[in-house]
Symmetry: C2
Subunit: 195 residues, 2 copies
DNA sequence: GATTTAACAGAACGATCATTCTGAATCAAG
DNA sequence: CTTGATTCAGAATGATCGTTCTGTTAAATC
């Protein structure tokens, strides 16, 4: 019998991603990976080479199926502050559905648990944050009356920091509305600053 | 020969703290703990009971020797926005000294790596964040022309989120000045919002 | 249907780790 | 000095983990 449930590498990666995301790299053993993916050890090793390489594949898969769908609205040409609000709400709602304290953001988790011991993960995290900054800068530049770009650049960096903080707090807080309140207050101060 | 270098449990805890802080819980083995503390396994086990309990002791030690000295100025009765600025600068300077990307905040690291698998760590992290919020609220209420307390409360929560984000980013960024710029921009928007 | 290929399940291996245990060494008290 | 308690260094233990290997089974090709 060939691969019973994960017929493609994408499916395999998605199942592995869930484990890494919710339990971290160290707490996810090869044994649980074999069980949850229904792919044999041999299959995983021939397809990816090892646990670490599978983790890298999950990193990219996470960006494709989680980050991009949620953040694309901020990156669109006509995006404004409301797009940023929608991005935050999407992510908070996801955390609230699965029950807070939630698994947070895969990238943010990798940034503290994996990146210090793995250069590849470190550059991936840096690229992710750069993407966020560019997206925020785009949305902020479409808000208010044409603010100077160095101003929106600085505010975009603040948005990136705030985003990382949101994820961090979603791992210990049990109150989704407290996160929503923080987002609303933050966006209000941003708006006040841009008009 | 009794304990050669760590004569007290406090010294032992401080040396262990450095390891946990810089390399995380999983990447810090009992072997490295024995080597860096110069205390025998037997000594560690009789003094603390195990690795996890030692970690909890390090958590409290971190708050005593790192958090409190840096954050006390925000908690003082007459504290204002400049105290918050000093707190951020203290922490960024610490990270820049040891070289970015740095070890970040022990509490923030524990929040993503240890808290999900350990209820005690989870409550400790929650208490730490509550302390931060109270401190920020104190400093914010002394700023501007007596803003309503629910306003400073909301802004204090934003400050906590921002703080967590700062630590998260300090683990992957190599540019301390980018962090300083984010802090300055953030504090400017806060000040503009309070006056 | 015979042969080749690919994937499987699970044992085996080597390494690491937290914890416990053993015997020696050190120090305090009389 | 001698006794007794304490601490040490390091081996032993039992468990876990990532990786590799072996025999077997299912699919694909002709």
């Amino acid at each position: 019998m060939p691969r019973t449930t994960a017929h493609t590498n994408d499916e395999l990666t998605e199942r592995a991603l869930l484990q890494f995301w919710h339990h971290g790299f160290h707490a996810t053993s090869m044994d649980t990976l074999v069980k949850t993916t229904n792919v044999s050890r041999h299959g995983i090793y021939t397809a990816f080479g090892g646990k670490k390489q599978l983790f890298h594949a999950c990193f990219e898969r996470y960006q494709d199926i989680v980050v991009t769908p949620a953040f694309a609205c901020v990156e669109e040409p006509g995006a404004d502050l409301s797009a940023i609000a929608r991005y935050f709400e999407t992510q908070i709602a996801r955390g609230a559905e699965s029950g807070l304290p939630g698994p947070g953001c895969f990238v943010a988790n990798a940034s503290t648990e994996t990146a210090p011991h793995d250069a590849i993960t470190q550059t991936k995290v840096a690229q992710h944050n750069a993407r966020l900054r560019n997206g925020f800068q785009n949305a902020l530049s479409n808000t208010g009356m044409a603010p100077p770009s160095d101003r929106t650049d600085a505010l975009a960096q603040v948005c990136v920091v705030f985003t990382n903080g949101l994820w961090s707090m979603s791992r210990t807080t049990t109150d989704a509305d407290a996160l929503r309140a923080a987002v609303k207050t933050f966006l209000d101060t941003l708006k006040a600053d841009l008009t």
